[in-house]
């Protein structure tokens, strides 16, 4: 049997199996999921050959399955993250009911993503896209009434995206006579010369998944309401499907179009870049006023996707490379962070940062993961996150003329330090309160995937070349020639470099020297004191006195940036919704239910006909 069909078949049978097993032994539902994904990952990385194509026809339509170098990047991302998330999920979801529902949708959504990666034609692409959307929607409303509103929002925006995409696909068939993606690109479907609406429609479809600015409002709620083990994939991998599509469209615009500086290409670059930049800024400033850790991470996901889109919009070698690198790194650290939030939720019962603090000594491994991921998120050297940020800035400064976009991005990334710190401080630092005394470290099966992700971040900080290799090959598929990369040296077009190996070596040496010095020096005279032993003007804090500063953490910043907080996309959409409702309400009034009124309408219609008789019926 063909390997592609086999993988899809395993996924679907895994989904059914986990549903059935839940009826018999709920414990094994999660393990079934893990095994399914593990088997698929094993098959994928051993059996699938890059650039092999399988053809078949369904209802007279030519369809193709295959993996190319570009989608291979996303395959690594999806399968790797899903494997770890499903391992995490076993213990995380343990005490919930309706596990069969959850796990079968869990597998289906991954099947959808893998299917998207396999698709070489638009029809199967769209089918798998919808499988992914629907299964993820079903997981968002897993919590029932509590999350139905967020689910509805997600569904509406996904529907907008899907219809836009479908329109584009049908138009491609109509105008270029093909459903095969690569043929459509060869024929110049995305060139912005004629049929401009085709790429725009497709971009709208992808932008919904990638949570780009006007279409992002579903993301914060949907991300924070679904179970954390799924959100790790939802935010980490599923949003990257939007990036996959956008990359495909944009790269073919930039690398296949005859005139790279054509007016509409420039416009596209500007609009997309600025939309990405504004997404990043707005999501960041909303992230830093959240008090729920999950919501904070959800907003931060939207912001990070903004950076990725900015990188894609530059269309230059370094920019696209930065975007793809950030896409992978974002999947890693945001996956890890959502797992951290999940672990905290399971062990403590809440992720409200005003309620918990001081978990660092209770959950050291979770803290380690959170710390490493946050450093990567903030883009502070020497971890993988810095590599992506560095390339993004260099691409913007050296290769694109969007100098003010640099400032917007930089503002967002500096403000990101604020919510990064807020997350760490809110959950792990601060007073060790009595309420959290019982808390223990999360189970081993939850710790392992988190720590693996943290280690990946550290390794990619020293040797980003590990990721550059597949990315460079993928970019060659997209039409960029001579993509240079080095194991640990980043170079921009002006020839300046950042040598990660050197940087890490320096930091490591200094760290070891200073750490040993500071630890050994006066070791006997150094003692550990609890967090209640603080200088509070001689006052002795009582056991239950809460001394942690958590509420309105960035109030001064909120005051300073008050104009930015006035506008919210959520509000605009709501206003639009209300306006539409008013119009529909008015329209509804025509149908009064009274026979007399209807008779009046008929008479009015006849009168109008009679008046315009001569113009309407000239013969």
């Amino acid at each position: 049997m063909n390997i592609f069909f086999l993988i899809i078949l395993i996924f679907f049978s895994g989904a059914i199996l986990s549903f059935i097993i839940n009826r018999i032994a709920p414990k094994f539902s999660g393990i079934t999921t893990f095994v399914t994904i593990a088997v698929v990952s094993f098959l994928f990385f051993t059996q699938v050959e890059i650039n092999s194509i399988t053809q078949f026809s369904l209802g007279g339509i030519q369809m193709q399955f295959g993996v190319n170098n570009y989608t291979y990047i996303f395959a690594i991302l999806v399968l790797g993250l899903s494997l770890l998330a499903s391992l995490f999920s076993i213990k995380y979801m343990q005490d919930n009911d309706r596990l069969g529902y959850f796990y079968s949708n869990f597998i289906l959504s991954i099947a959808g993503m893998v299917g998207i990666i396999f698709s070489r034609d638009f029809i199967s692409f769209f089918i798998f896209w919808e499988i992914m959307t629907w299964s993820s929607y079903l997981i968002v409303i897993y919590d029932g009434a509590r999350s139905s509103r967020s689910g509805l929002k997600y569904m509406i925006f996904s529907a907008i995206g899907a219809y836009a995409m479908l329109t584009a696909i049908v138009s491609i068939k109509g105008s270029y006579g093909t459903f095969i993606i690569s043929e459509a690109i060869e024929n110049g479907a995305f060139n912005f010369t004629d049929h401009i609406y085709i790429p725009i429609m497709l971009l709208v479809g992808f932008a919904v998944k990638a949570a780009l600015m006007p279409l992002h409002v579903w993301a914060p709620n949907a991300y924070s309401k679904s179970p954390m083990s799924f959100t790790a994939i939802f935010s980490g991998a599923m949003s990257k499907m939007g990036i996959l599509g956008m990359g495909l469209v944009l790269a073919s615009v930039y690398s296949h179009s005859t005139d790279e500086n054509a007016f509409n290409v420039l416009i596209l670059r500007q609009i997309l870049g600025w939309l990405g930049g504004i997404t990043a800024v707005m999501a960041t400033i909303y992230a830093l006023i959240q008090t729920d850790a999950k919501k904070l991470l959800a907003y931060s996901s939207v912001a990070q996707l903004g950076y990725i889109i900015v990188g894609l919009s530059t269309g230059t070698k370094l920019g696209v490379m930065a975007a793809l690198f950030l896409a992978i790194i974002h999947a890693v650290f945001k996956g890890a962070l959502f797992m951290v939030a999940g672990a905290v939720e399971r062990q403590v019962g809440t992720t409200d940062m005003t309620k918990i603090s001081g978990l660092i000594r209770k959950m050291p491994f979770t803290f380690f993961t959170a710390l490493v991921s946050i450093i990567a998120l903030a883009g502070i050297p020497p971890l993988g996150g810095f590599v992506g940020k560095w390339m993004l800035y260099e691409a913007l400064i050296t290769e694109s003329n969007n100098y003010f976009l640099v400032i917007v991005i930089f503002f967002s990334s500096t403000a990101a330090f604020m919510y990064s710190y807020r997350f760490l401080f809110g959950l792990f630092l601060g007073q060790e309160e009595k309420e959290i005394e019982h808390v223990k470290e999360a189970p081993v099966t939850m710790i392992i995937p988190m720590v693996i992700l943290a280690l990946i971040l550290i390794v990619t900080g020293v040797y980003p070349g590990i990721l550059f290799e597949p990315i460079a090959q993928g970019m060659q598929y997209l039409g960029y020639s001579d993509v240079n990369w080095d194991m640990s040296v980043l170079v921009n077009v002006w020839g300046e470099e950042s040598n990660m190996a050197y940087i890490n070596l320096t930091i490591g040496v200094v760290f070891v020297v200073i750490f040993i010095f500071l630890t050994l020096k006066n070791l006997k005279g150094t003692r550990y004191v609890g967090t209640k032993d603080i200088s509070t003007s001689g006052e002795i804090p009582t056991e239950n006195e809460n001394l942690t500063f958590q509420l309105d953490f960035f109030k001064p910043f909120q005051r300073a940036a008050a104009p930015l907080y006035k506008r919210s996309m959520d509000k605009i959409w709501n206003d639009l919704g209300n306006a539409l409702e008013a119009i529909f309400d008015f329209t509804r009034r025509i149908y009064t239910g009274n026979g007399q009124t209807y008779a009046l309408f008929v008479i009015i219609f006849l009168v109008i006909l009679l008046i315009f008789k001569n113009t309407l019926f000239t013969n």
Binding site: L371, Y421, W494, E496, R527, F557
Partner: protein, 315 residues
Amino acid sequence: MEDLGLKIFGAILTTILGFTVGMTYGGIVRKLTARVQNRYGPPFYQNFLDLLKLQVKKTNIAHGFMGHMAPVWIIIAAVTVLLFIPILNGNLWFPNMSFHGDLIFLLYMMVFGSLGMALGAGQSGNPNSAIGVSRGLSQMVGFEIPFVLSLVALMIQYETTSVQELTQIQHETGVWNAISNPFAFLAALFASLGMFRYSPFDIVGAPAELASGPVSEFGGKYLGTMMSGGAIFAFIKLTLYVHLFLGGAGNPDNTGIIATLLGLGVLLIKTFTLYMVPVFYGWINPRYRTEQAIQYFWRWPTALGIIGVIWAVYS
């Protein structure tokens, strides 16, 4: 192998230089402040005595692992950044590795120390520390905007992102960047007010208000190590500014002993003059509130920075 030994020796030399100069400058500022206030003031080496005393304290307390690590992070950031900026242009005595890390790297690396400090302060559980950190991070968002604007202006004006290159260009043309792009320099100068945290931007430590803010739970060797890190950081920022805007120091064509000393002298004069800007500004100003401080940077300094970028594009 010899090369490596020389480099390590040079790295230690650089660290000692940065530390000494930073500490001395701090002492001189204390002395000058005293004289401005019509006092006699402490000796200029007072900071060294303070540091020595803190290091020979007999007992210390830590509030946990992050509290223990906070000074380590600061020193890591300080020394790493110090090694990645050119102390003297093209001088082999100081092994600058700025070829291996450019301005963007330096910008981000400088935050590393602050983050570590914030984490250490957070773990102490003192509400004052947390408030201090919140203020510090907010203020950073304020002054980074004009600072980055001015850096972007320089980068696009000379098409390089390396500090070494920028210094070299100024050395070759003989025109300081402060003159070739005055708006960027002014924006950066305003940003430096926030960076050095003298009044009116001393909202983080905020004596008599927050009980020294983030460091309120640190004493003994921890406080001492933090002080050293802060001193090195002061030297770093000044040196960076001198190399970016004020023509740099040192002559790459002549690296003899006398030329090196001369270069160091020039560096000291320039850095000291620059250091006096935030200090002078601080003497005559009370403290801002946090939102005022943020908005201060988002008004004129940012406008100047934007003009600087436009200037750089059209020159």
